[in-house]
Amino acid sequence: MGRLKTIGRRAFLVGSAAVVGGVAFGFYLYKKPVENPLLEDLAEGAAALTPYVRVDADGVTLITPRADKGQGAYSVQAAMIAEELDVELDQIRVDPGVPSPAYWNTALAAEAVPFAATDQGAMATAARGTVGAVMKIMGMQITGGSSTVADGFEKLRIAGAVARETLKAAAAQKTGVAVARLRTQGGAVILPDGREIPYQELASEASQIAPVTEVALRQPAQWRLIGKPMLRVDMVAKSTGTLDYGIDARLDGMVHAAVVLNPRQGGALNSFDASAAKGMRGVKKIVPVTGGVGVIADNTWRAFQAAAAVECDWGPAVFAPEMADHWAELEQAFDTDPDSQGRDDGDVENALGETPLTAEYRAPYLAHAPLEPINAVVLIKDGRVDVWTGTQVPRFTQNNVAAIAGVEPEQVHIHAQMMGGSFGHRLEDEVARRCTELAMEMQGVPVKLTFSREQDFGHDYLRPAAIARMRGAVAEGTVKTLDLAVSAPSVLASQMGERQGMAMPGPDSSISQALWDQPYGIENYRVTAHRARNMAPVSSWRSVGASQNAFFHEGFLSELITAAGGDQLDQRIALCTDDVSRRVLQTVGDMSNWGRDLGPNRGRGVAFCMSFGTPVAEVVEVTSTPEGIRIDNVFVATDVGRVIDPVNFENLVQGGVVFGLGHAMNCEITIADGGIEQTNFHEYEGMRMYQCPRITVKALEQNSHIRGIGEPPVPPAAPALASAIFDATGVRLREMPFNKFVDFV
């Protein structure tokens, strides 16, 4: 921890600023002042602080630019502040803030650099620093890449500590008692005689004095909250139906809208006939929007009904219309120059010899399909635009809405809403854009646009389909050569390039994410990434490139280990070059009692993946029953350096495993006639309760870096399941979803 403190002092400039009715604590950008949303009302020159915590008459407020899409981000961040500031969790309010370039996300940016997360060498560290600067300039404010904990771990605690010491200094000034004799507890400064001064009452004094920035962070042994189970701040609301999500937003005079968009995704609207729909009950207006028609009515269901009654003449497909074309494009991309070659150890060509083992693996397109369909409320009035929506990219949304509404971005006010899941879906802002088009037609009236589940499925930006071609050789009972080539479209080019208009030069590291940087020492080891032409628009999906790449890499590695006659776990441990990862593998072996006799018709598999710097190993145990495969047990070991809340941590890991297994079992998105074929959950089921195995989780805390856990449990699930099914049945699964080849109970 001593080391963290140093980094904190060196890299961040902490400070405070008076804000209306109180004081805010946060960090200065060290390059140049950036506009600061909270300080609009202040004089020039004071506006360079990014606030993390505010103390005013309402008490303590965490100001967080990091969206909570279900992963408990608010609670985890509140705990980090509370640990130093000595407030109880339920005394902290959360203000999702307003979009501002002042919030940048250094931990996520670091992942975009092609250095292995385990590589802490000077080159790698320097390169990560550079990308951090680039992200700051672009003003991105993104929740993704499992970075909330990593990014906030130091900053939030430091902000809390500075706030605490400054409030004590204010109390000393007010009472004449020396700072050394003051304590803090429960959101108040405690005087030696036991009298308490609530922070609220010190806010204005604190805003008048220089912040106390020389603070020592508390040692882990002193922690009262971090690492202990905590009741998440939203748990009661989420268990009583009293938490409002974006879809529940209600404004006076609000109208309800639906859209019907060209089923040939991204295609144009040639013409439409609304004569039948116009007369339907409750319909107020029917207008064309980009790629379709919008219906504004007095009730969501009436809007859905009327949208279905609009007759549309749709333009042609804008990308290859059939799934076979997409697979062909992915195949052809292997003949193009590589997008990157992240690894080329030893002499692969020679080592492969005359008769290498070969295999081709495939992963389909996938939809995000969080349970809350995308939605937004937009109100345009007197040149000001207000947007209520659940978003991971408020800054992009602000710009895109401004462009449609014809106003300056400063006139667009984003009110971030709670999200009913995301998995990357809300890194896009399609719904806010379409809703703005509708609101333009209804000036002064708040318009809520809810995508029907069918529209949400049909217009999702997908997890890329991908193919891997692999060759390998074994000798002396071990894996000597692994040559892996992958072909996938570029998420960066589609998501950031096509849809956000940003130049995305250079290779797309997500194509080879979690392939080239795995901590295995294989003598001859090559990873080549080919970029396929973008066809269907693609996007980040929980764990991004790792979601399909771990299946490829670990799936084929299992085949090689089998060919070498080795044990799946022992061989991985023997090949592993990273101490933290090796301990994770050993731990999952111990947890699952690896090697014990499982009994007839049963099998086990293990897989490992390092993604976003977090090593995760999973063991899956299955039984082959007459009705099909039943998944009995999953064991997960990981190391994130520091677990902030063990309960939420376990929940996230289990959820990631369910997500990974469910999609591997039975989910795929296919393309026909230029559009997505699947329309609803009956064609895209994922895992249901009766299929859910027992999932045992163990977290080590030896990683020297603080890492996130939202995404890393997903990638190993599919290959571990495939390996277990092979062990139980002898059926080798090289393509997802697996239910094309085996039945599941």
């Binding site: 279900g70 998440r232 269901w301 899941g421 609803n680």
Partner: protein
């Protein structure tokens, strides 16, 4: 619609003259609403009555996010026409409140089941109805009753544990 005594019949008749087409009892309160009888109960609750605990997830009885009780039975409100509703509707708001949690809700908080939480209104209503009918469900009973409710966040292990805790509490354990 059940008319049990004349005063109520008269009252209903008057409402009907005023243009109300549907009478609905939700969480103990009577509502007279002017909507098409074929409008799904879900959208009457959400958009007409402002009761937003029941969620829209699929609209075709596949996900269970919209689960409410009609006379204690769990139903998918997205797939029940409001005109066909006979009996009293209970939504998550009527099951218990933050100050007075139902045993199932208390178990949900204790086990910290929710991630995004969007499915949980429906999960809790399904569980409450299960325990109403079967106070001591086996693992298979729980799986059978709860498998119509999707959780995209994958909270199933905690749902299972919470249902068991709620069952033992309700049985006085």
């Amino acid at each position: 619609m059940q008319v049990t005594f004349p005063a109520q019949a008269l009252y209903l008749w008057e409402r009907r003259l005023e243009g109300y087409t549907v009478k609905l009892t939700v969480n103990g309160a009577e509502h007279f609403i002017d909507v098409e009888p074929e409008m799904p109960l879900l959208w009457v609750l959400r958009d007409e009555l402002g009761i937003t605990g029941p969620k829209y997830g699929c609209g075709i009885a596949q996900c269970g996010a919209c689960t409410v009780h009609i006379d204690g039975m769990a139903v998918r409100s997205c797939s029940v026409e409001v005109g066909a509703v006979e009996g009293e509707v209970t939504t998550i708001e009527g099951l218990g409140t933050p100050d007075s949690l139902h045993a199932v809700q208390a178990a949900w908080v204790e086990h910290q089941v929710a991630q995004c939480g969007y499915c949980q209104s429906g999960q809790i209503m399904a569980a409450a109805s299960l325990l109403e009918m079967n106070s001591d469900p086996t693992d298979e009973d729980i799986d059978a009753a709860m498998s119509a409710n999707l959780c995209r966040c994958g909270t199933y292990p905690r749902i299972r544990a919470a249902v068991k805790t709620a069952a033992s509490r309700m049985n006085g354990a």
